[in-house]
């Protein structure tokens, strides 16, 4: 028997824990793919992970690489299930957490309610000591009050301590000293200092980040150690890698210390998958769209690179300011618009879809579980886009009477019949998603027509072509196994860390040394961290980004710098690259001095990532997998008789044209009239629009 490599990704979601396993023979290179699903088992989530491994027939002892994604952090935050936190901060600034930024997106509402801080005032304590913005000490740190503060914390049932001082991004000495002292005096408590998470300025954002990290730390630590323990008990001999919000994985040890970096890991793996897929099929510019049950998320990938930012907020929308978390998160836009989103008509006869969702229970009306409100899924069923005889892969019998009743109710309020109401629901839902896709493309200075739309998640393929038409996108790719695409993305991830460091510098001759210095210093820090985990420095790859602005501006534009040492003679080219990037985004450039505000360094190393093998066309005709034909309502393009193909049986090289529908148990691809479809060597379905 030939040697084989087994790679596993497990993903803990709100309802289900998913498993994908790739078994690759070293001689054939051909992968056997196993997928499995079992119930998520709160609060002992590791049980669900062990269950799903067993259900999939995967022996942990045989696994070479295991990646793990979890929503434990975001759930603890949004459900307020973290621990009691005490904050130690600079004298005069204990209220920073409550003052926040004073903003109010809901600006005509005079009953607006500001988000409550995660630490009440009496648990926010101060220590004397000041560092200035150059990182120089102005007033020495005085720790004499610390023991009494910690005693108070203990007495109040505090379990985790956050430390955040002014200008610690420039010089963390005071935070480090306090951190050491807290660990010394109170070793049982979880403790985190802001500089361990971020080296960027803005004290409210950094302090809140430290507080939220402390808030989830004991919970995440417990979760991860139980997971590692459970896997070890079953014979898994390595350490699992944990999916991060920056599209990379990180070691379990590193994540246990700063768990807040997992906060958006769910969407990140899918977007990373889209970037990797783009590279694989030579489509490096990708608009990635993930449509699930309650939300749609999208992100833009340029030249194979995901965009990672630290301007991330939870619970922020048009009605509330939310909470900032200053960690590297893939730049994404998320809207409350998924398969289960509810269609409703307001008092003035206007149709809306979402953001309320029917969820899994009762779910869309067609689930027949008591849902009475029409959802996007009901409209898709009604219009023949989803096969009513093969609903949810045949697992659920579609209750069309319930769907009809729900859609008719919407139609009555609009004064139209059920068909027209269903088309309206699809059009409004599509419009919501088009606007989200515009936010990540047009709003950032990118023309969507230059991009390929990669659509995944349960609902991505159903809407992708319509959205592409609206945006002028010419190519749509639906990945093989689109419904478990996130897990695939996890297996394609590198061990990756993003470092953001604030450091002001101009671009005049003589400046290069300082700029090179901050990159070199950060690279050295990264290498130390990788080496401590047994990864050789030679395996670590770096990407250097500079964050620039015109002097006096605030917001920066990120520019990827060529590799190699930064010298004074390179500065004019760097400046020119900034002008060019800036003009694309803002339509003009200025003849003003340019300055650097900080750096963004990406450090990554491959840790057993999957290699895909291309298959040759089999020569079979698509007709061989034709399941039948049915009438499908394409909303704006009318009703057409569409060919229905069995997605599970499609083979490389098969071609057909729309109108058509491709069905497999996890998703439905709606191919519009005139679209040309081809299955590529990796099993992806590529759709060319006219």
């Amino acid at each position: 028997m030939a040697e084989k490599t087994i790679r596993v990704a497990t993903d803990v979601g709100g309802t289900f824990t998913d498993l994908v396993c790739f078994e690759t023979g070293s001689d054939s290179g051909i992968a056997r793919i196993v997928t499995a699903k079992s119930d998520t088992t709160p609060p002992n989530f590791e049980e669900g992970v062990l269950n799903v491994l067993e259900k999939g027939g995967v022996d942990p002892a045989s696994v070479d690489f295991l990646a793990h994604g979890t929503t434990v952090v975001i759930n603890a935050l949004t459900e307020r299930k973290g621990v009691k936190v005490g904050l130690i901060t600079t004298e005069g600034f204990r209220d920073t957490l409550e003052i926040a930024r004073g903003n109010r997106p809901d600006f005509f509402n005079l009953h607006y309610e500001k988000p409550k801080p995660f630490v009440p005032r009496y648990l926010r304590r101060e220590l004397p000591g000041r560092i200035n913005y150059h990182g120089e000490e102005m007033t020495p740190l005085d720790l004499s009050a610390l023991p009494a503060i910690l005693e108070d914390f203990k007495a109040d049932g505090v379990q985790a301590v956050a430390v955040s001082f002014l200008h610690s991004y420039a010089n963390p000495a005071h935070e480090q000293a306090t951190l050491a002292e807290v660990r010394e005096l109170w070793p049982e408590a979880a403790v985190v200092a802001s500089h361990q998470i971020t080296r960027e300025w803005r004290e409210y954002e950094r302090t809140n980040t430290a507080v939220l990290s402390a808030y989830v730390q004991p919970i995440a630590e417990r979760y991860l150690s139980r997971l590692a323990g459970g896997l070890k008990e079953k014979g898994f001999g390595k350490s699992p890698y944990i999916m991060q919000s920056n599209c990379g994985v990180d070691s379990l040890e590193a994540v246990s210390q700063i768990p807040i970096t997992m906060v958006e890991s769910g969407p990140a793996s899918g977007f990373w998958g889209a970037a990797e897929l783009g590279k694989l099929i030579d489509e490096p510019d990708v608009l990635a769209l993930d449509i699930g049950g309650t939300t749609a998320k999208c992100s833009l990938i340029e030249d194979g690179q995901v965009k990672i930012m630290t301007d991330y907020w939870i619970e922020r929308d048009r009605t509330t300011a939310g909470y900032p978390i200053m960690v590297p998160v893939v730049d994404l836009v998320e809207i409350g618009n998924g398969g289960g989103s509810i269609a409703w008509v307001d008092a003035f006869g206007k149709l809306h879809v979402g953001p309320q969702s029917a969820g899994a229970v009762p779910g869309p009306a067609a689930y027949g579980r008591g849902g009475t409100e029409a959802t996007t899924t009901d409209a898709n069923l009604w219009l023949g886009r989803i096969n009513r005889d093969y609903f949810c892969g045949g697992e659920i019998e579609a209750d069309m009477a319930a769907a009809e009743k729900a859609i008719k109710a919407v139609g009555e309020k609009l004064g139209v019949d059920a068909d027209e109401a269903a088309r309206g629901i699809i059009r409004i839902a599509n419009n919501n998603m088009v606007n989200a896709l515009k936010l990540v493309s047009l709003n950032r200075g990118h023309d969507p027509r230059d991009f390929t739309l990669v659509a995944f998640g349960g609902g991505g393929a159903m809407h992708a072509v319509a959205l592409a038409q609206e945006l002028g996108v010419k190519k749509v790719v639906v990945p093989a196994a689109a419904s478990v695409f996130s897990a695939w993305g996890m297996m394609m991830s590198d061990l990756r860390r993003d470092y953001f460091v604030t450091r002001l510098a101009d671009l005049k001759p003589g400046a290069a040394e300082g700029i090179e210095g901050v990159f070199a210093e950060t690279e050295a820090r990264a290498i130390r961290q990788f080496e401590a985990e047994g990864i050789d420095a030679s395996k670590v790859k770096f990407l250097r980004y500079g964050k620039f602005r015109y002097q006096n501006q605030e917001h920066t534009t990120e520019v990827l710098l060529d590799s190699g040492k930064i010298t004074d003679d390179r500065l004019p080219a760097i400046e020119a690259a900034f002008h060019e990037t800036y003009e694309r985004e803002y339509t003009y450039r200025l003849d003003a001095p340019v300055e650097m505000v900080g750096i963004h360094l990406v450090a990554s190393a491959e840790v057993g990532k999957l290699t895909m093998t291309r298959r040759e066309p089999t020569g079979a005709a698509a007709d061989a997998v034709l399941k039948g034909r049915r009438k499908v309502d394409y909303a704006l393009e009318g009703i057409h008789e569409a060919a229905i193909y069995d997605g599970e049986k499609l083979e490389p090289g098969m071609k057909f044209t729309g109108p058509a529908i491709v069905e497999d148990p996890g998703s439905t691809i709606v191919v519009h009239p005139g679209n040309a479809v081809e299955v590529d060597g990796y099993g992806n379905i590529r759709i060319e629009l006219k």
């Binding site: 005069g92 004073g102 500001k114 149709l351 059009r427 419009n431 015109y550 006096n552 501006q553 605030e554």
Partner: protein, 554 residues
């Protein structure tokens, strides 16, 4: 299939796109701006108007700027009324409150016609506070001004860009008149980028759906706005309500509001003559205040456009403080506007307390500090509104440390950024536990913010109201606490101000900004003892005062 050019879903999709475009314009401007008052404080607004200058959709930002843009574009449309006056690629500007500018000279409106073929189908516009536009004082605002000519360069609804080509002399004149020419240029270009992006999107939208459908979508959007307002109007208490209120300077302001099913009439005719100083406002400015309070009172969530405001009728007297006659100075218009806004609010709060909270700290607390940055040698100017406490709502304590009702998605400046950018020290920024605002539901707390000056010969200008006449309470709650600024001199001595112009401050002088607690609602004795215990524990009230006011037993 229904007719695609006129079905309600298409119109709605276009209306959603108008909103998305106004938001995109806002994001573009915010990111490109040079002045912190724009990019951090977000003292700006964006909007989309129809061919006649009627507001169709507005972006985020400051509510006080929403109703400004239509007035500016209407003046431009009226002034450039000959065929060929307005060409594709043109961009116009005004900052003159007597020519469509509404607010004060610092606020520059930039507007661009949207063409499809040779037809104007819409306008995109924005407004933002520029750091310095000339005049007698740095930052252009001075309490000493007696004529608008002293408040900076007037841009009287003029063309800035002709068929895509910048009119260089105009830019040169603007830069030559500013103490901060690079900021002015950068900010104006950010504004131009924003209207251009918006115009491009709208042209694409009209190109796709057809001009007729596009225009119908805008018109029906405004009709929708009106319908929402009328529905809510019918639910408000009807009748005539009046209020007189004394101001910090001893003057009395009077308002009479009449609400019926179809109209919201604000009568401000019985008010003092215009002032010789800069605390006057234009009639347009007062209209904006009426629109804001009307919107908050009716439906804060529905789209905000020309139709929403159709039921408002405003009566003013030319030559009064609320309808200044040219060339009255107008620089501190915002404090007068926030006063008249609060006056209308208070007038109605007694009759609709479920819709309106108790009195807020209710001042912009406009603070201007400038000097030389000790590390870079460059000049800096801080221009910022302050955070303060909001009044209690029925059933809930007021917010602490939040901008006044005039500001919306406005952010304060982080101490770390302020120290680097402005070269001063922020010694503290904390909540102000001043007594006041007690009740069954309490007012929120203001702030105490200490700026320590690092260079001799720096200046302070400030304009705060509610410094003597305190934030008002409802139903037996206690009044809030005052807003003021103190200068604590290095050599000893403390000065207290509410209005001060170009005061010299030197190294190690501390400028202490203090903002007030909002008013309370209901009898303090009815407050939940558990909440009082929390207040004491959090240091918001002393145990002694808690005992006195709430009967707190400890």
């Amino acid at each position: 299939m229904s007719d695609r050019t006129n079905d309600p879903i298409t119109l709605e999709i276009i209306q959603n796109s108008l909103q998305a475009t106004a938001d995109e314009m806002f994001a573009a401007m915010k990111k490109a701006a040079m002045s912190s008052i724009i990019y951090e404080v977000l003292d700006m607004g964006t909007g989309i108007l129809d061919a006649k200058g009627r507001l169709a959709s507005s972006g985020a930002g400051i509510p006080a700027f929403i109703g400004v843009l239509d007035k500016a574009v209407k003046v431009i449309v009226e002034k450039f009324d000959h065929p060929g006056d307005i060409q594709p690629g043109d961009v116009f500007t005004t900052n003159d409150p007597y020519q469509g500018g509404v607010t004060h000279l610092n606020d520059i409106v930039v507007a661009m016609p949207v063409f499809v073929g040779d037809r104007i189908i819409a306008w995109t516009a924005n407004i933002a506070h520029n750091s310095d536009i000339g005049g007698i004082a740095p930052g252009s605002l001075s309490g000493e001004a007696t004529e608008i000519f002293q408040e900076g360069l007037r841009l009287p609804a003029i063309k800035l860009i002709s068929e895509g080509e910048p009119i260089k002399p105009v830019f040169e004149i603007m830069k030559a008149n500013s103490r901060m020419p690079d900021f002015l240029e950068g900010d104006v270009w950010a504004a131009i980028a924003s209207v251009r992006i918006g115009a491009k999107r709208l042209a694409e939208l009209a190109g796709k759906y057809g001009i007729d459908t596009f225009e119908r979508a805008m018109a029906s959007f405004m009709d929708f706005g009106e319908k929402v307002s009328l529905t809510e109007l019918s639910r408000l208490p009807h009748g005539t309500f009046a209020l007189s209120e004394e101001q910090d300077d001893g003057r009395i302001y009077n308002v009479k509001i009449t609400i019926s099913d179809t109209e919201f009439v604000v009568d401000l005719r019985d008010n003092p003559d215009q002032d010789s100083g800069p605390t006057n406002t234009s009639r347009d400015g007062v209209m904006v205040c009426a629109q804001m309070i009307f919107k908050s009172l009716t439906d804060p969530y529905s789209p905000c456009n020309e139709g929403s405001f159709r039921p408002i009728r405003l009566l003013t007297r030319e030559g009064s403080v609320f309808h200044a006659r040219e060339p009255a100075p107008i620089g501190f218009y915002f404090e007068t506007e926030v006063r008249v806004y609060d006056l209308m609010w208070r007038c109605l709060a007694n009759h609709a307390s479920e819709r309106l909270a108790a009195g807020h700290f209710s001042s912009i607390c406009g603070t201007f500090i400038g000097g030389t940055h000790p590390d870079t040698g460059r000049h800096y100017t801080i221009i910022e509104p302050q955070l303060g406490g909001w009044g209690a709502s029925e059933g809930r304590d007021g917010n602490s440390a939040i901008f006044s009702g005039f500001h919306g998605e406005t952010f304060n400046t982080p101490a770390e950024i302020s120290e680097a950018r402005n070269g001063l020290f922020v010694d503290r920024m904390e909540l102000n536990p001043a007594p006041g605002g007690e009740g069954q539901w309490t007012g929120g707390h203001g702030i105490r913010l200490d700026y320590r000056i690092r260079v001799d010969g720096s200046f302070l200008t400030a304009g705060y109201t509610r410094s003597k006449v305190l934030p008002w309470a409802l139903e037996g709650g206690r009044e809030g606490s005052p807003n003021y600024v103190e200068v604590i001199r290095r050599e000893g001595g403390t000065e207290r101000y509410s209005f001060v112009s170009s005061l010299t401050v030197n190294k190690d002088d501390v400028i202490r900004i203090v903002t007030g607690t909002g008013g309370g609602i209901g009898d303090p004795k009815a407050r939940d003892p558990e909440k009082v215990r929390e207040d004491v524990r959090n240091g918001f009230i002393t145990p002694e005062r808690a005992k006195e006011i709430y009967g707190f037993a400890g």
